[in-house]
Symmetry: C2
Subunit: 259 residues, 2 copies
């Protein structure tokens, strides 16, 4: 709690945790002038309606079209809005559509930035692994009816974990300074028909989680052995890695900060 | 297994268990000539495409617009379709949209009728009871942010259980011979934020589950005491009972047959 009342009207930095079903949206990031539905656009429209001021929000992860979130983090300057911080979720949930919800609010220091201050992000990719699909999970998972070799998937997952150049796991058309990232952990949970891959890292390249999942699935379906993942990492070419799995299995679970 | 090969081409009665997310559909029942999307329409379109014959399906429960199913049962005559019964789910799931799935298939005697042969149906009504909504459950539950008195709900639920005239719990405009039904059980499960009411009975009047839930919620929110439910039953007038809760919390879970 670093809320300094003397700064009211100047800068009042609010951090919100946001959950959404991304099915109906063209991703998190507002695409001004296009008329496309975005999560950021809905949040800003709601904040404008409630506060009467123009508000720009910063999101921790720019999730793609169809990708969901349970723990997206945003921050914005509420300097012009006279509402107690703890009341923001209730107020916003009253005007947001049912597929977006604010789950938490807190005051943060002026220099807190939802994206740049983040020290880790956790994404989950859900696979529905059964012969028969479940319509209630079709929006939230990727249906894979074939048998998956989880021992092989875990072996390959271990090879991806750590600090690597993930150039092979990056979609085209998204220039970045460095393609080195630290994947802190990659847990594979297959206790039921719903298989969940949890990726926690210091950052992810464009489509990196979906390409890693597509590659691990190829290992699980015995298209190549786990060790092949090492060659993909070393080769640093997108065409070496597996396909980009569809967006609906992906969910931004958590963003962590040092403060 | 009462499949008689000598009857092939004449009558081959197939029973399917079907699951669906009903959000995008105007209910189970086909509304010919309207162009409206229905579950029955999708199933018949798929069967026509696969079998090359015109097929009419009979559903156990005519679920309303927006209502889901995990265990809807249908039957149809597959006399003109040369496919082994056990392969039907895989074949149909390949041509049905992702929000409808066939989960089981079996041969049944000629006189099996999905609706008239049913001896019980189980519906679940899901309430999401938390101050903060969950976007991932918004399609599958009714969001109630206020505190619910579950002791009172269970007391009222016990009064509804048994053989009663449920005239007060029937929506207008659906003539039936008798409004007496036997509600075998009504279980209230509130172990988490997701509260589930399971209704098992020999049949349900139009909107009966949703009106019973609306009435139980009024008890849970302390609008009237549990005993009041007795007066509603005795009064036999729709206006005495609670409101019809929205469709997305409702799901047809199971249909049971004596054979």
């Amino acid at each position: 709690m670093d809320f300094r009342p003397e700064k009211l009207g100047a800068m009042r930095n609010i951090k919100l945790t946001v959950a959404y079903d991304g099915t109906s949206y063209c991703g998190f990031q507002e695409q001004r002038g296009t008329g496309l539905l975005t999560i950021q656009g809905e949040l800003e429209r709601c904040l404008h309606r409630l506060s009467g001021t123009t508000v720009r929000v910063i999101g921790a992860g720019r999730t793609d079209a169809g990708v969901h979130a349970r723990g997206q983090v945003i921050n914005f300057n509420a300097g012009g809005w006279n509402i107690p911080t703890e009341r923001i979720p209730l107020a916003m949930n009253g005007c947001l559509p049912p597929d977006i919800a604010v789950v938490n609010s807190e005051d943060v220091p002026e220099d807190f930035h939802a994206r740049f201050s983040a020290v880790s992000k956790t994404y989950r990719y859900a696979i529905y692994n059964s012969r028969i699909p479940d319509p209630m999970f079709s929006r939230y998972s990727y249906f894979v009816p074939k048998a998956i070799d989880f021992k092989a998937v875990r072996e390959a997952a271990a090879l991806l974990t750590g600090r690597h150049d993930f150039a092979a796991f990056k979609a085209e058309g998204s220039p970045v300074k460095s393609t080195v990232r630290h994947l802190f952990s990659l847990d594979v949970q297959d206790t039921s028909k719903i298989v969940e891959l949890f990726f926690r890292g210091d950052g992810f390249l464009y489509n990196m989680v979906r390409i890693m999942t597509g590659t691990l699935l190829k290992v699980g379906l015995k298209k190549y052995p786990p060790e092949h993942v090492r060659l993909i990492l070393e080769g640093r070419k997108r065409e070496l890695a597996g396909p980009t799995v569809p967006p609906q299995g992906l969910c931004l679970m958590k963003v962590e900060y040092s403060i």
